[in-house]
């Protein structure tokens, strides 16, 4: 079953743009499942949305078109003509999402895919055609697959984005060579140049209706009257000026891909192919002295769905076995979500982030044991991160702050290496004779009910998590000023290290000082911030 709507694709020699489905295509499948489907007589389907102040048809399907409905018609009028039509409100977000999915799917043809909202795609297929045995074959393959997915489309190839767009939207969708732009564009209406409707209308008022009418006109009067946009669009369509393509996803510096005659579905097969692709990448990486820091495996399922699995590593990686091991953890973590369906017919391994990786010298030099140990720890970090998620495997870093909870932070272990500022911290600790700090710090200080003998002194007893603790020894106060330079800095804190009767040691503080207290204000409250061994 085919959807409906102006689904065109424009292509070109180097850029090719495709128009994917439009609203009714995706709706059709839902409607088919509905009770009307069994009736035998096809029901017309139209999608409407608010344009200006009126509800207007945005797209119609084949059946509706046969009844004389078309996009742009008022909904009320369409309903009056054909009360039985099925009118559905448009869902622009879902359409955009669908377009993005199709764009991702098009990555199988080229890494340079851009979205041409609301219903088109631009693909740069320079140098990609030979993979399919030529541009025509590539387009034929794309058309087959798009059609099988139930979408109507127009597709054109041309030497510039503008020409391809014009051919797909307005002209004859076909394949044009470089240099044929002029003959392609000349007979087309001016709207084929992707101009603002007001400009087109203004041009029409002076009798300029086709592209051919303005190609040979003197440029300066046109620019003076209609603005620079007109000439620029013309130049771009004719290929006189370069128009950059803005790909939806960043293009990976290293890519290796493999197509399969028979879809693969088993996890071992996926891992085996990953390793084989990694071996291919290794040569490319070695040649340029790079290593992978982030790798993405894209699996193209036969039904058009995409599986993207990305993994990071703590040091530049080249070894295929290591890369395979990381993806093995990822797949194990995915388990059920990794749904191969009827199998994958293509796999692509891309190094998304690469970093210079100096060649390693093995066996010489005294420090070999330490580097080997470091490498093993990095491998452990990578394995754990691949399975549990990079944010769960962390290292502590020292930060330059006097506020206890900010003095140390945890960051994903893959992003950090080596010292992390602790050498500096140790120097500072020795110089400043830092008072004892707890072994475990609570993420947020917990309020406690405390009773102190003297206002500024340590508490006599306090209640934390419903248990009463009698303080028998206390050390302090250690006054830690809040961040006075900031609005949310908070009050100064007086920290006490206290020990209760059973020997438990806590780190408490009183938020705020009595001397700063406004008359009549409530007494400062107490918090428990950490526990000592």
């Amino acid at each position: 079953m085919r959807g409906e709507g102006r689904d065109e694709g424009a292509f070109r020699q180097s850029e090719h743009s495709e128009k994917p489905p439009h609203p009714t295509s995706s709706l059709r499948s839902e409607v088919d499942l509905s009770p009307h489907a069994g009736r035998g007589e096809e029901r017309a389907l139209a999608v409407y949305g608010k344009r200006g102040n009126a509800e207007t048809l945005v797209a119609v399907d084949d059946a509706a078109e046969r009844r004389g409905l078309s996009a742009g018609m008022a909904l009320a009028q369409a309903r009056a003509m054909h009360p039985e039509i099925e009118a559905v409100p448009e869902d622009a977000e879902a359409d955009a999402q669908l377009l993005e999915n199709i764009a991702d799917w098009c990555l199988r043809y080229t890494p340079l895919v851009a979205i041409d909202a609301p219903d088109g795609l631009l693909l740069d297929i320079s140098g990609c055609g030979h993979l399919y045995g030529g541009e025509q074959e590539l387009v034929a393959d794309l058309g087959r697959r798009v059609e099988r997915a139930g979408f109507a489309y127009n597709v054109a190839i041309a030497g510039s984005i503008g020409a391809a767009w014009a051919a797909a939207h307005v002209g004859e969708p076909a394949s044009y060579l470089c240099g044929e732009e002029r003959s392609l564009l000349a007979p087309l209406p001016l709207s084929a140049l992707r101009l603002a409707p007001t400009t087109v209308a203004a041009l029409a008022r002076v009798g300029l209706k086709r592209v051919g009418d303005i190609i040979d006109l003197p440029r300066s009067p046109l620019t003076a009257r209609f603005g620079p946009e007109l000439m620029r669009q013309l130049d771009r369509a004719l290929g006189r000026e370069h128009e950059p393509l803005n790909p939806r996803l960043p293009v990976a510096p290293y890519v290796a891909e493999q197509r399969f005659a028979e879809p693969i579905a088993r996890e071992q097969d996926v891992l085996a192919i990953t390793e084989r692709l990694a071996v291919r990448l290794k040569f490319a990486l070695e040649r340029r002295g790079d290593g992978a820091r982030r790798i993405e495996l894209t699996l193209f399922r036969t039904d058009g769905a995409l599986r993207r699995i990305a993994t990071g590593c703590s040091r530049p990686l080249r070894d295929a076995g290591d890369i395979r091991a990381l993806f093995a953890e990822q797949l194990a973590a995915l388990s059920d979500e990794f749904d191969p369906g009827f199998g994958f017919d293509m796999a692509r391994l891309a190094v998304v982030v690469a970093e210079p990786c100096p060649p390693e010298q093995i066996g010489i030099g005294g420090d070999n044991g330490a580097t080997e140990a470091g490498r093993q720890v990095d491998q452990l970090v990578d394995r754990l991160s691949a399975r549990l998620g990079a944010r769960r495997v962390r290292r502590l870093i020292a930060q330059d702050s006097h506020i206890p909870e900010l003095a140390a932070a945890t960051v994903p272990a893959q992003t950090t290496r080596a010292d992390n500022g602790w050498q500096t911290f140790r120097r500072h600790r020795a110089e400043a004779e830092l008072a004892p700090r707890p072994l475990r710090l609570l993420t947020y200080p917990e309020p406690i009910e405390a009773m102190a003998e003297v206002p500024d002194g340590p508490p006599l007893r306090f209640r934390w998590r419903r248990a009463l603790h009698e303080v028998i020894a206390a050390e302090g106060p250690e006054r830690i000023e809040g961040a006075w330079w900031s609005e949310q800095g908070g009050a100064a804190r007086d920290y006490f290290r206290v020990e209760d009767k059973s020997g438990l040691r806590f780190w408490l503080f009183r938020a705020g000082l009595y001397r700063d207290l406004a008359p009549g204000a409530a007494a400062p409250s107490w918090f428990l911030h950490g526990t000592f061994a």
Binding site: A407, F425, R465
Partner: protein, 315 residues
Amino acid sequence: MIEQLRQRLQALQKTAGIEDGAGALPLGIAAIDAALGGGLARGALHEIAAPGEAQLAAATGFALGLSALRDDARAANSSSPLPWGEVGAPTGPARLGRLDDRLRAPGEGLRLIENHLPPHPTSLRSVDLSPQGRGERKKSFVWIAEDMALIESGAPYGPGLDQFGLAPEQLLTVGVAHRRDLLWAMEEALRCRAVHAVIGELRHGALDAVAVRRLSLAATNSGALALLLRSAPATDASTAATRWIVGAAPSLPCPGGGGEEENRPRFATHLIRNRRGPRGSWILQWSDIDERFVLATPAQPVAMPALDRPDRKVA
């Protein structure tokens, strides 16, 4: 061929946890090392439980202390003329620790003491005079806990660890969502040869024997110290090499002890299960200068702890 298979079988069949293939990690306290048969077995699983939730920080401190123990014990053993058991009074190390503290700057002072006092394997050797020595000589350790545990009991705090004598840059913290992941991550970490100790923090609930055995096996293969930190004493059977209940002990100045002792954390440790020897109870004190435990009580307790009396319950 058959011979090879036999060897492999033998390797597979070896009982996990009590082999001393990986050696022992001496605590440097004669009484405890004697009970443990030379020290805490490396490449084995040890369970450390807090008597209650509130005491978890103390148990944490004990576990961290164990993982901070120096690995150079074997070298020390071979060079020391005296075997472990014959080292003099247990008060020695404590006093030495303080001496070390005072004599840290002049290097020859240390040598002087070394000549005049009965040699103690770790106390002198472990004082690191080189400024960069601390982070370098230590191996990584991994702390794995469920996310909830880190929120409830607090996450390891870098400056605190540093003061405790551990190098925070060597710590890898892993937060996991499920216990299943915790056990998996522990096993993975134990397999890594560069990891010295793995601390797994387990909240309430029993642990099945298969999981414990898997951990023991993983530890045996790499020789790493596997420490299971529990917030309450376990009731389940376990194949762990030792089981400890560790709580905080009041840090009252001990008779003859100096003032600075009060700052040192004290632990009431009960060894309630020991596959190699008797059980026992000790009050230990962590000395962050030596990075080792010392006995806080001047001598052996007068009476054996209630643990050895089946009619009485453990406090």
